[in-house]
């Protein structure tokens, strides 16, 4: 983001908070932002096309749709890091995998159809890589109203 003009900034901030469910939602929001409906849609299209926005629409809570997610981590010795990365990434259930600066230095998200698939995937990863896999079971999620103000 080199320079975001004031309208884009306000659109980004407003649209992170929510979008109305009504006949002409863009028109309603445009009025609030002092823009025309057409110009709001055009700017939104551009923000998505250039990758400033990764998504615009309903954000579904996957667990409520029957899917299951979890967060897990492994303490991987440095000399073995590349091998374990290859093993973990090869599982289609592993959606994200990040190296982090900690004794637990590999953190990944598993997405699967349900809890049994999650448990099986965790077991298979542990057996394939030879290190214990710690699961950080989600007990509760707290609603965040605004992600990242610009």
């Amino acid at each position: 983001m080199q320079k975001l003009d004031e309208d884009y900034r306000r659109i980004l901030n407003r649209l992170q908070q929510g979008f109305p469910v009504c006949d002409r939602p863009y028109l309603q929001l445009a009025a609030e932002l002092g823009l025309s409906e057409e110009s709001l849609i055009e700017r939104l299209r551009r923000l998505l096309a250039e990758g400033t926005l990764t998504r615009f629409g309903p954000l579904y809570q996957a667990e409520r749709l029957g899917g299951a997610y979890t967060l897990a981590a492994i303490q991987v010795p440095e000399h073995d890091y590349e091998r374990v990365t290859g093993i973990v990434n090869a599982f289609p259930e592993v959606a994200h995998n990040y190296r982090r600066e900690h004794a637990l230095n590999m953190w990944f998200v598993i997405a699967a159809a349900g809890r049994p698939d999650i448990a099986r995937t965790l077991f298979d990863i542990e057996r394939s890589c030879g290190y214990p896999v710690f699961e950080f079971h989600k007990l509760r999620e707290y609603f965040v109203a605004l992600d990242l103000p610009v």
């Binding site: 629409g57 973990v88 982090r100 900690h102 950080f136 007990l139 965040v144």
Partner: protein, 164 residues
């Protein structure tokens, strides 16, 4: 899990989920377009989507920025060991305080991992992340026993999450 009774989604709800998981149409009447795709009335689409919002199947209808693209290049997973009796109300204040993008209560693994609260903190640099972490620490007050920030140093894999 503290989940309420599992919401029942019927075939029309599922069709709406499939039609919108890539995003909302960028047209003046987006719910009318969805209605045409799933072969129902716009009123039905709006009523169903509002219901899914009300019961939490849809967290919200909103834009998700690429945080690198909007200048948030420092990303830390802050983790906190917070007194179980106080964690719920305090975590809600963290979530509402504009300090974190995601906030979860998760299982501990003592002694290796005493932390039960996870909050993703983003900043334009690590200094900004540290400053937000400091504000979270103040908010948690005496219920806080210890904390750490784990910075991501490399993305090893990142694929889109398919919802259905």
């Amino acid at each position: 899990m503290n989940m309420a009774t599992e919401p029942v989604l019927d075939a029309l709800d599922t069709a709406i989920v499939r039609a919108t998981q890539a995003g909302l149409p960028l047209t003046p009447r987006p719910y009318h377009d969805i209605a045409a795709w799933v072969d129902t009335t716009p009123e039905n689409v709006m009523r169903r989507m509002q219901r899914m919002l009300d019961i939490g199947v849809i967290r919200r209808i909103a834009a998700v920025p690429n945080h690198y693209a909007i200048g948030y290049v420092a990303n830390g997973m802050s983790v906190w060991d917070v007194d179980d009796a106080a964690v719920d109300s305090l975590a809600m204040r963290v979530a509402n305080g504009g300090l974190a993008s995601h906030c979860y209560l998760r299982s501990r693994h003592p002694p290796l991992w005493p932390y039960n609260l996870f909050a993703m903190v983003h900043g334009h640099d690590r200094g900004e992340v540290e400053s937000k972490v400091h504000q979270i620490a103040q908010l948690l007050g005496s219920a806080l026993r210890s904390h750490e920030v784990l910075y991501s140093s490399r993305i090893l894999k990142k694929t889109g999450l398919r919802l259905t």
